[in-house]
């Protein structure tokens, strides 16, 4: 195809988008909304999974909080008793003084408001294997065996819950994404069909003067591609902005679990993925409607 013909076809495609402004806007809006929801679902599932996966050190650790009235010798005795249990790799003592000192440097305003140190001694228990976490946590919670223990916090449980949640988000997000993908495809398909119908006289003349099917199809395919890509680019921007805001909000919460886990996915990859999906939707939707229409003309 000659360069001037390609230029003419691109010009025709954009002229048509401008001429059918309202219809184009509707298609663009729908693609944007659908791909934003799709992108947000995929992005959320990915981020949760990413955060959960980056907690390997915390996964197997059990924090045993002792009662505040427990004296140091008793603490050391509990530590020794735990060390003798089967399935234990190591036990570290975080004294209440050390914890208070850390808190003073991290949260000075909070510690200033307190009359004295309210923190308990904490024993950080590392099991020999992750499979021991459940049994050990239960054992530490048994008040008959460990009356000095106030609370047990297995970070691994939270990570497991998070991974489970990520799995649910992935499944629901995947189904929603598939549904939205098909819905968007139909919307673009219908929009292009209306455009093609509005241009039936032009297409008829093209056919009668000897334009090939490819030549007739190309501007309409370009139109579908434009709707898909432009909608996806806007959706990409919305997903990135919302993702950034949500991450900032979570960081402000200073959750020890989430912390500042950096994302391995770069913004450009998010936009590129959405644009690729948009292009696929736009091209497929318009191709299907043109194919059906050209048979009827």
């Amino acid at each position: 195809m000659a360069l001037s013909s390609l230029g003419f076809l691109i010009h025709e495609a954009f002229l048509n988008i401008r001429r059918n402004g309202l219809m184009s806007l509707a298609a663009l809006g729908t693609v944007t909304v659908a791909l934003t929801v799709l992108g947000a679902a995929v992005w959320t599932a990915y981020r949760i999974n990413e955060i959960a996966q980056q907690q390997p050190l915390k996964l197997d650790r059990i924090d045993v909080f002792l009662k505040t009235e427990v004296e140091r010798p008793q603490t050391l005795a509990v530590r020794d008793r735990i060390r003798q249990l089967p399935g234990i790799r190591a036990v570290h003592l975080i004294t209440k003084e050390l914890a208070w000192k850390q808190m003073q440097s991290n949260e000075p305003s909070l510690t200033e408001a307190l009359p004295d140190n309210p923190l308990p001694d904490v024993l950080e228990v590392e099991p020999a294997s992750p499979s021991e976490v459940g049994a050990l946590t239960q054992a530490f919670r048994d008040q008959a065996r460990f009356p000095e223990v106030e609370a047990v916090n297995a970070a691994g449980q939270a990570v497991k819950t998070m991974l489970g949640f990520a799995r649910v988000v992935k499944v629901i997000g995947g189904c929603a994404a598939l549904g939205l993908f098909i819905a968007t495809l139909f919307i673009v398909h219908n929009t292009i069909r209306l455009t093609v119908f509005a241009r039936r006289r032009e297409i008829r003349i093209m056919q009668l003067v000897g334009a090939t099917s490819g030549f007739i199809r190309l501007p309409l395919l370009l139109e579908g591609l434009f709707h898909g890509v432009a909608g996806a680019a806007i959706a990409g921007g919305v997903v990135l902005f919302c993702g950034h805001e949500v991450s900032r909000f979570i960081a402000e919460l200073q959750s020890p679990l989430v912390g500042n886990v950096p994302s391995l996915v770069r913004p450009v990859e998010v936009v590129a993925g959405l644009v690729a999906a948009g292009a696929l939707i736009g091209l497929t939707g318009s191709y299907l409607s043109i194919r059906r229409f050209l048979k009827q003309v």
Binding site: M1, A2, S4, S5, F8, R19, R201, E202, R204, I205, M206, Q207, L208, V209, G210, A211, T212, S213, F215
Partner: protein, 240 residues
């Protein structure tokens, strides 16, 4: 240029639009196709530009066997034809120049070709003075001239016109037929399907008459017979 051998067209309800038509049209001829509504004139033209296929028989146009033609070969075949319709078929949002250029652009012609051939086609039909006008700013006769320019811009050897004067007054119709005659004199084979008895009678060119799908008359210098005209006028009156 055109050869039909035992051509028949039947639709699903088994009505024969054309029945066993044999016809030859030589290069450079000017032919009127006449007959009442439903006689098969438009079906014949549709067969000639491969809009329809015969259910039986063989058709050759400009060296192409249309009965054996594959769909992807149709666009290239149609580049050898110019087609003109009663409703002009101009694009309302394009100027006269753009409408004519559209036919060349649609077949991938380059800019130099368009710049050279569009003004020449407009000059030939007498519309060179209004290249920037839009169709709604033109009279019916002027719109048909532009449609003829578009049909001829690619310099096809065969021009097919389906009721080209159907929407025009008698004087304008005569002007259009003289234009078609002028095009024919330059070497283009012209086939005109028409109900317009005045122009057929005045031109005294070859006339092929159809009735109920059959070729009933083929005269080298014919006229529009009154009996055929009466049938047509009766049909129009009944329709009104």
């Amino acid at each position: 240029m055109i050869e039909l051998q035992d051509v028949s067209v039947a639709y699903r309800n088994e009505v024969a639009a054309l029945a066993q038509v044999n016809l030859r049209v030589g290069k450079g001829e000017f032919v009127f196709i006449v007959g009442p509504t439903g006689a098969g004139k438009s079906t014949l033209l549709k067969l000639l530009y491969r809009e329809e296929r015969p259910t039986q028989g063989r058709i050759q146009v400009a060296g192409h066997d249309l009965t054996a033609m594959r769909p992807r070969e149709i666009p290239h075949f149609r580049r050898k034809l110019g087609i003109v319709f009663q409703d002009f078929g101009l694009l309302p949002n394009k100027t006269v120049y753009e409408n004519v250029a559209f036919a060349l652009r649609a077949i991938g012609a380059n800019r130099q070709t368009i710049r050279r051939q569009v003004p020449a086609a407009l000059e030939m039909v007498g519309m060179a003075h209004r290249p920037d006008a839009f169709p709604h700013q033109l009279s019916g006769g002027e719109q048909q001239r532009v449609a003829i320019a578009r049909a001829l811009v690619n310099d096809p050897p065969l021009l097919l016109a389906d009721e080209p004067t159907g929407n025009l007054d008698p004087d304008t119709s005569l002007g259009i037929v003289h234009l078609l005659n002028h095009i024919n004199v330059r070497g283009t084979t012209v086939l005109v399907a028409t109900h317009d008895s005045a122009i057929v009678d005045q031109m005294q060119r070859r006339v092929i008459a159809f009735a109920q799908g059959r070729l009933v008359r083929d005269e080298a210098h014919g006229a529009y017979r009154q009996d055929e005209a009466v049938v047509f006028h009766r049909e129009v009156s009944a329709w009104r």
